[in-house]
Symmetry: C2
Subunit: 204 residues, 2 copies
């Protein structure tokens, strides 16, 4: 067991990561200043620099803390022989893991320009590409790789729809009401499974 005298696992560092991801996802990486993060936490900018060397280092912290479900899914799929069942199980694990970490996925998709020059951002992108590779299996066609990619992005698209204005026209009914996050994720997984179902690596 851990020492009782030890503080609750560097609480501030964890809080910085949480607040930063929240702001990065909502307002974007570039538009979120360290001052905003510090203010929301009730500390000063300098305090942030005690825990993280640079702004980009916070991104590193975010990815390291939040990408665990993605790594788990990759570890589960890696080494196994490809099969339709494996493919579907990977999608289920991805949807379950990322659905609970919606801000991370949003941050990744909507801040590509900032993440493109970030080591941590590229590391996350590599994980996504690895996930795509596991999904389509060996000797894929371009269409197979595209289907795998589209399947993964359907989770993000579902979130986009949730955020988008539900009532768009005065005449149109608000499309079966606003679904909950869980319902949206369920729909995302269903569509993802549909798209991925036509992946057939042996038919090259």
């Amino acid at each position: 067991m851990t020492t009782p005298t030890q503080s609750p696992r560097s609480d501030t560092r964890a809080r910085i990561i949480d607040v930063a991801l929240e702001l990065f996802a909502e307002h974007g990486y570039e538009k979120t200043s360290l001052r905003e993060i510090a203010d929301r936490l009730g500390v000063t900018k300098a305090a942030l620099y005690y825990h993280f060397k640079t702004k980009d280092d916070i991104v590193r912290g975010i990815v390291e803390k939040m990408a665990a479900p993605l790594d788990d899914a990759i570890a589960f799929g890696e080494g196994k022989e490809w099969s339709p069942e494996l493919r579907d199980e990977l999608l289920r694990r991805f949807a379950a893991g990322m659905g609970e970490r919606a801000p991370l996925l949003r941050f990744f998709h909507e801040n590509q320009p900032a993440l493109r020059e970030s080591a941590a951002g590229l590391a996350f992108k590599d994980r996504m590409i690895k996930m795509i590779t596991l999904l389509h299996g060996p000797e894929p066609t371009f269409r197979d790789r595209l289907r795998a990619t589209v399947a993964l992005t359907s989770v993000h698209s579902a979130m986009f729809l949730l955020k988008a204005d539900p009532c768009m026209e005065p005449g149109a009914r608000p499309a079966a009401g606003s679904p909950t996050l869980d319902e949206a994720m369920e729909a995302a997984l269903e569509v993802a499974l549909e798209v991925a179902a036509r992946i057939e690596p042996s038919a090259h």
Copy 2:
């Protein structure tokens, strides 16, 4: 006919739009400074401000000039009664129009945080949502709206794949070589049609 003495339709303004979109798509809106745009054009920042009132006004210029194919597709679909044939024709027009304007789509998808506070950005988003609505027709379920959204994003996903490193592992073959832009767009349309095919607005 237009006056012969008139200059070639304000060449500089058009060049600013082209260069700005190119840089915005490649390096992102926030990371692209007006100095960079001016330098590449061989002018100064002040010259930019003669043609555009603010940086965001350049975005407005981009959308107004480049979103024409999208408006055409919307105009084509609006007022018509929904049918599977209309749905597919809309997807074909969208893919054809946006495939030729790949940077615009990339700019839109990868710079949401910046565009979220931009009037021009919101106008483009409205067009996309309108396109989604035309695709799924009346009384959609959330799944239908999601399928319509995913179908539209497949064009962007195809471009993501094209940019992503083709050779990912030492052992893996580079997935049927690097396809051309046209081949990628053809694949994107095929996947989009697949995804949209299960939209059935009457089965609510």
